[in-house]
């Protein structure tokens, strides 16, 4: 594997950039693996990387129905934060944030993690009270978050309209300065490169059509159009399609799949210094390093696998952005798209073992999976390697829907994740 450094860039530049090696091979499936991971997004590739690096398990295949990082990893708005209300979520997302901070060095691959801060606007007395409660809960959990007055919010993000005549007056904001954005494709590529260098096979354009178990109920392998592939353990990390894949193993999950849309504007010079989210009017915005404004909001109202979504939601989102930032009134939008997100009833992920021996699941991230990528991958690898929960992912079981011990971020936050 080429080591990226200023020197290697210079050497290749002098050679006309003609001798760059392939970063990972496109593998053909073997007949058998120790571990198969279904889904080559950031979560799946990351789990393969940590299995190989931290647990010495290198006989691993990551099987992807489309192309690597072509699902929600490449479709999200790249926001990373960890200011969740409950202890369990705070630990999981803050673990991810800790890993984000060292990820480019760890992978020797620039994921362009930028801690530009995420600011959440409060537009009503209820918002103010709710966000201040979040700030206090976060600080008790050693999670960075602070309260800003509206003037401080304006100073942090100058395009913000804080006038009293604004359609959605700003009463203050919660700011997590440690939060920010990263280059989403690079996360998938960096993990893929690191995993492949340690012997992991990455198999693209190969949908897993069924998971097969033996007579004792233990997992046996996966069916694909390229034939049956045997495996001692299978981990499913397939986002919106998790229900479809898990159904074939007889595991029914509390998931519903919704389209989550995002859009980008034409690229402009640097104007927007941070990420701003408004939960009340439901929109969020940041500026990519290419200069595009990256805009998103909540899911469409109906379940769907269409990866399209409807225009009413885009209209609502763009209207909200134009009210909060009148400066963007005449920006032209370049393109929009949707990813299919798997939403749980309590809006928290399901991460761990299933009733089938040797079958693991990492799903239910809903609209906020990207920020959790390193943390989810790291703890999933632990669970797969040791067949037991990691202390951080232990509360995120499937059993909580039977016992009633939910991690109810939906009720607590009512936020866009």
């Amino acid at each position: 594997m080429t080591h990226f450094s200023a020197l290697s860039l210079l050497r290749h530049a002098l050679g006309g950039n003609k001798k760059w090696e392939e970063q990972w091979p496109n593998s053909e499936p073997k007949a058998e693996y120790d571990v198969i991971i279904v889904g080559a997004g950031g979560h799946g590739l990351g789990a393969a990387y940590y299995l190989a690096k931290e647990h010495g398990i290198t006989d691993v295949a990551v099987i992807e129905k489309g192309w690597l990082g072509g699902g929600n990893t490449g479709r999200n708005t790249t926001i990373i934060r960890s200011n969740y209300l409950y202890d369990e979520s705070a630990r999981l997302y803050d673990h991810a944030l800790d890993l984000w901070e060292g990820l480019s060095q760890e992978l020797n691959y620039n994921v362009m993690f930028s801690q530009r801060g995420v600011m959440m606007l409060a537009h009503s007395v209820h918002d103010v009270q709710s966000f201040q409660r979040h700030v206090h809960a976060n600080r008790l959990n050693d999670v960075d978050n602070r309260w800003l007055t509206k003037e401080e919010a304006k100073a942090y993000c100058p395009p913000l309209d804080i006038s009293q005549t604004a359609r959605y007056p700003v009463m203050g904001a919660a700011l997590q300065k440690r939060a920010g954005t990263a280059r989403h494709d690079a996360v998938a590529w960096g993990y893929a490169r690191g995993a492949a260098a340690r012997g992991v096979d990455i198999i693209q354009n190969c949908p897993v059509t069924a998971i097969r178990s033996d007579a004792t109920g233990a997992v046996e392998g996966v069916e694909t159009p390229r034939g049956f592939i045997k495996a001692k353990k299978v981990a499913v990390s397939a986002a919106g399609h998790t229900s479809v894949v898990m159904d074939s193993a007889g595991v029914r999950l509390p998931l519903e799949s919704y389209p989550l849309q995002a859009l980008v504007s034409e690229p402009v010079k640097p104007i927007f210094p941070c990420v701003v989210m408004s939960n009340t009017v439901h929109a969020y915005i940041s500026q990519s390093d290419k200069g595009e404004l990256v805009i998103g909001s909540g899911t469409d109202q109906y379940t769907s696998y269409s990866q399209r979504g409807g225009l009413p939601l885009i209209e609502h989102t763009v209207a909200a952005i134009c009210e909060i930032f009148p400066i963007f009134n005449r920006m032209r939008m370049l393109r929009k798209w949707a990813g299919i997100v798997d939403v749980t009833p309590d809006r928290s992920a399901i991460l761990g073992k299933t009733p089938v021996q040797g079958l693991y699941v990492n799903c239910g991230w809903g609209t906020g999976g990207f920020k959790a990528t390193p943390g989810a991958a790291h703890t999933l690898a632990w669970t797969v390697a040791k067949d037991e929960p990691h202390p951080i992912n232990a509360p995120f079981t499937l059993e909580r829907f039977t016992t009633g011990r939910l991690i109810d971020e939906a009720a607590a936050a009512a936020v866009a994740h």
């Binding site: 399609h241 229900s243 479809v244 029914r252 999950l253 509390p254 998931l255 519903e256 799949s257 109202q301 109906y302 379940t303 769907s304 696998y305 269409s306 399209r308 409807g310 225009l311 009413p312 009833p345 829907f401 039977t402 016992t403």
Partner: protein
């Protein structure tokens, strides 16, 4: 924009007039105290989440205000049929081909 036929108003109207209300034909147990934790979980949380024809509820919130059922293909988002609440669930074979 989805176009949805309200079986009460007998009109086909834009999605903005309607609210989605989840999977249809989920029956609440007669006496919740009698069911096991697993059955209660299934009733509350477990959904088919089908990729294909999906039986679901909608409500005509900005019209007659009534709940009705629909069958929609979740891959193409096309409505195959809508019918009034309380009516029998249409047989999958009786539904029109998607695309018509």
């Amino acid at each position: 924009m989805l176009l949805i036929h309200c079986p009460y108003c007998d009109e086909t109207l834009p999605e903005a007039e309607f609210a989605y209300a989840g999977e249809a034909h989920i029956v609440r147990p007669d006496n919740p105290a009698d069911v096991s934790d697993e059955e209660w979980r299934d009733f509350l949380f477990i959904r088919n989440n089908l990729k294909g024809p999906h039986y679901e509820r909608w409500r005509h919130i900005h019209g007659c205000g009534r709940f009705f059922n629909a069958v929609r293909n979740t891959v193409t988002d096309r409505f195959l049929t809508t019918y009034r609440a309380g009516e029998r669930r249409p047989d999958p074979e009786s539904l029109p081909e998607d695309g018509q």
